[in-house]
Amino acid sequence: MPSRILPQPTPETQHFWDGCREGVLKLQRCGCCAHVYFPPRPFCPDCSSRDVEVFDASGKALLWSYVINHRPRPDMGSEPHSIAVVKLAEGPQMMTNIVECPQEPEFLVLDMPVEVVFAEQEGGISLPFFKPAEG
């Protein structure tokens, strides 16, 4: 299996990928209007302020929508797998894979609570996946 296609961080996104490697989901919040946003950028897409801060998100989310890809990319193995979008408790949507869960519609129920889990890859990258929340 070819090695997984991985992100190449840029100066504007480095904090996010550093956070993933350290096991923390990092989001950004505007100091002016309090808007929370993703993906990372050094200004607020709502009010255009450069006064923004990085903070630790809860890692909690709801399963918002998904497909189950029956023709996986060569680096994703041969079994059907989810390509999902979760809605983070803090507001933004994020693409991910739902893991530690059968990859079948009966087990992937919209609006079910999920939580982040980080999976170490090559080259110092960890990817943020989500699994069904416990309890």
């Binding site: 997984r4 918002w64 497909v67 390509i83 949507q93 693409m95 990817l127």
Partner: protein, 379 residues
């Protein structure tokens, strides 16, 4: 642009369509352009504006022997040609040029002379979508749909009906790639691509192209074809990443573009005789009917199931068979425009009797962009 001040005077598709292994991408642009010039009774020397997507307008102008005073390389995916029409109408109205050639050519299936796929791993999409296994549009354009079905109370069967009714239209078009009738069961039993999408809910992958020529309504009077006037236009963009759509149940770009076009045209929905909604996948006509305001949210599926968009219905939709059954080279918007022009010239294979106003509504990327062109054959 003043409504009806600019007209389509040349329109044509490539000579062949479907599988064309002996023509490269730029060759498809040129074949469509030459057919459109012949249709309009013009040659390269009569054209002073160029627009295209996929290749650069520099390549197009040089290859065709055109010396333009206007060049538009807007590339926002499959609806780029709607934006080209909009920009060309404004340019002609403002004297930037007189006559604009807009071309599309894509070797989607055979990939002769085509650029490789792929995105930089440092782009936002490369960082925040590619690592999770997205491949081609069937795994991206489809991601919002389960949320949409849930919110609207629609089902997989509703998606299947879109494909079934469009195939009925395709059967009337000899150039359509897929003409054999299909049933809802056929669609729901076709191979699974990406749950909940099955093969027959996804567009074709073919080779082909098309071209349009626009000029002022004054000049159009002396041209060989019945002029098709530009009545209203709209465009917008939302996000390059489908995961970042503001709302998975409605396209902001569709709403903004559609509203702008309707306002400029000064028409109401009941004035529309014929509609094209870019259907790369079966959910797009549902989103389009709602976001353009033809249906209330939650009523589009029933509208289609009740045959309002089918042969004999009150709003004939995707009368060439659409991207699902007619052809889809990758950037289908050009073919939607071609069918609108044919319907208003009265030369369509599945002609809507007495059609006076047609809308071609396009999508680019995965809900990334949109363009809407409203045309009429009445001066």
């Amino acid at each position: 642009m003043n409504p009806k001040s600019v007209a389509v005077v040349g329109a044509a598709e490539t000579t062949q369509m479907g599988r064309i292994p002996d023509v490269s991408v730029i060759g498809l642009h040129a074949d469509a352009a030459l057919n459109a010039m012949a249709d309009a009774g013009l040659s390269a020397k009569d054209i002073d504006g160029v627009a295209c997507a996929g290749i650069s307008p520099v390549e197009l102008a040089h290859y065709m022997g055109i010396t333009p005073t206007y060049a538009d390389g807007t590339m926002v995916g499959g609806c780029s040609f709607m934006l080209h029409v909009r920009h060309a109408a404004a340019a002609i109205s403002n004297g930037l040029c007189n006559t604009v050639l807009i071309t599309h050519g894509e070797s989607g299936r055979s990939r002769v002379g085509a650029a490789p796929f792929g995105r930089s791993p440092a782009s936002l999409m490369g960082q925040f979508e590619m690592p999770f296994g997205v491949t081609s549009p069937p795994t991206m354009f489809t991601v919002p749909v389960l949320r949409y079905l849930k919110e609207r109370g629609y089902t997989e069967e509703d998606l299947a009906w879109v494909a079934v009714i469009q195939r009925e239209w395709a059967a009337l078009n000899p150039r359509a790639s897929m003409k054999d009738p299909i049933t809802v069961d056929d669609v729901l039993n076709s191979p699974m691509i990406a749950w909940p999408f099955r093969l027959l809910m996804c567009c074709l992958v073919t080779d082909g192209g098309g071209a349009l020529i626009l000029t002022s309504a004054d000049r159009a009077k002396d041209m060989p074809q019945r002029p098709v006037y530009i009545l209203g236009t709209g465009e917008s963009v939302e996000t390059p990443m489908v995961s970042q759509m503001e709302d998975f149940t409605t396209s902001k770009a569709f709403r903004v573009s559609g509203k702008k076009a309707f306002t400029e045209a000064g028409i109401s929905h009941s004035d529309v005789d014929h509609l094209m909604i870019y259907d790369a996948f079966a959910h797009l006509p549902l989103y389009g009917l709602e976001d353009l305001g033809f249906c209330e949210r939650g009523e589009a599926a029933e509208f289609i199931r009740n045959r309002n968009t089918a042969i004999g219905g009150k709003l004939p939709l995707n009368t060439n068979g659409g991207g699902l059954s007619y052809m889809h080279s990758g950037m289908y918007g050009m073919y939607a425009l071609q069918e609108s022009v044919r319907q208003l010239r009265g030369t369509a294979e599945a002609q809507v009797d007495g059609a006076k106003i047609s809308i071609a509504h396009g999508v680019g990327g995965m809900f990334a962009a949109s363009g809407t062109i409203i045309m009429t054959n009445e001066k």
